[in-house]
């Protein structure tokens, strides 16, 4: 079954954990299917793999496509109505527009955060609590780094609506991460 060393079972052994982790954060439970689709697509398209890119980078490229595809499909299927009350954000500012609970001090080194398993599992947990639409735009825009205009086109929302969704998602996530204890675990540098 092995063709010039390109073998899905070996990919699964060598890159499976990385691919799975990446997908899990973005598509949750569907990660297993997405990783399978990715490895199969890679196997079917193996003739196009020139060997110039690192194998992992090549697989990650395919995975990213599958993830974005899945997010888009999921969004269309759900056809979720925007529900302003759903996330509770309206209660996070008082009547005079001030923070009801002001953001705490947390900062630290982005590299340390990125390398910490803790951070990503918090993020996964916090993302799961987002309403589906917010989760989708957050995953596309902030995690995948897609341009705002591209996201608008992909999921057919106008720019203002996208900004609202992103703002709410970011507010929810920062609040949730803070609740998980990010401030205490990764304190702002220079304040200690």
């Amino acid at each position: 079954m092995t063709i010039s060393g390109l073998d899905p079972q070996r990919w699964l052994d060598e890159h499976g954990d990385t691919l799975y982790r990446y997908a899990r954060l973005r598509v949750g439970e569907a990660a297993e299917d997405i990783v399978q689709e990715t490895l199969l697509a890679a196997w079917q398209g193996r003739a196009r793999y020139t060997g110039q890119a690192a194998e992992r980078g090549w697989l990650m490229g395919i995975l990213k496509h599958k993830v974005v595809d899945h997010l888009r499909r999921h969004y269309r299927q759900r056809d979720v109505e925007i529900d302003a009350g759903e996330d509770g954000i309206d209660g996070w500012f008082d009547a005079s527009g001030h923070w009801a609970t002001p953001p705490g001090d947390w900062g630290g080194d982005p590299r340390k955060l990125a390398e910490s398993t803790q951070f990503w599992s918090w993020l996964e947990r916090c993302m799961e609590r987002l309403p589906p639409r917010q989760k989708l735009v957050f995953a596309l825009r902030d995690l995948e780094g897609e341009e705002a205009e591209v996201v608008c086109k992909e999921i057919e929302v106008n720019a203002n609506h996208l900004y609202v969704l992103l703002h709410r998602a970011r507010l929810s996530l920062r609040r949730c991460l803070e609740g998980q204890g990010i401030g205490a675990t990764f304190p702002e540098e220079g304040l200690k």
Binding site: M1, I3, P8, Q9, L12, G16, D17, T18, Y20, R21, Y22, L25, E32, V35, Q36, L39, L40, W43, Q44, A47, M60, F93, S96, G97, H98, W99, P102, P103, G104, D105, W106, G107, G108, P110, R111, L113, A114, E115, S116, T117, F119, W120, S121, R141, D142, L143, G145, A148, A159, L162, Y163, L166, H167, R170, L171, L173, R174, E188
Partner: protein, 96 residues
Amino acid sequence: MIDCRRASELVSQSWDRPLTRREKFGLRFHLLICAACRRFERQLALMNRVFKRGEECPPEPMPVEVKGRLAERLDRAIQASTPPQSQEGNRPPRSE
């Protein structure tokens, strides 16, 4: 004078679109006097920097049962599909 709610909107939107001069001015003034919104601004900037490093996120071993299932499903799918390189030569002649 904008409030924290509006300021937080502008901080967020500054990642997605260029703010107008007026918005920038209003936001800058607000940030000057509001530590809470400054912290929000820093938090978003930090998250953004961490997400850019998303691929450095340490892989967590996938659960054994997931890996087992994946290995099995891959095997089946690959056996079910004809390897393309064997189609060359033994393809039946096209009947017109």
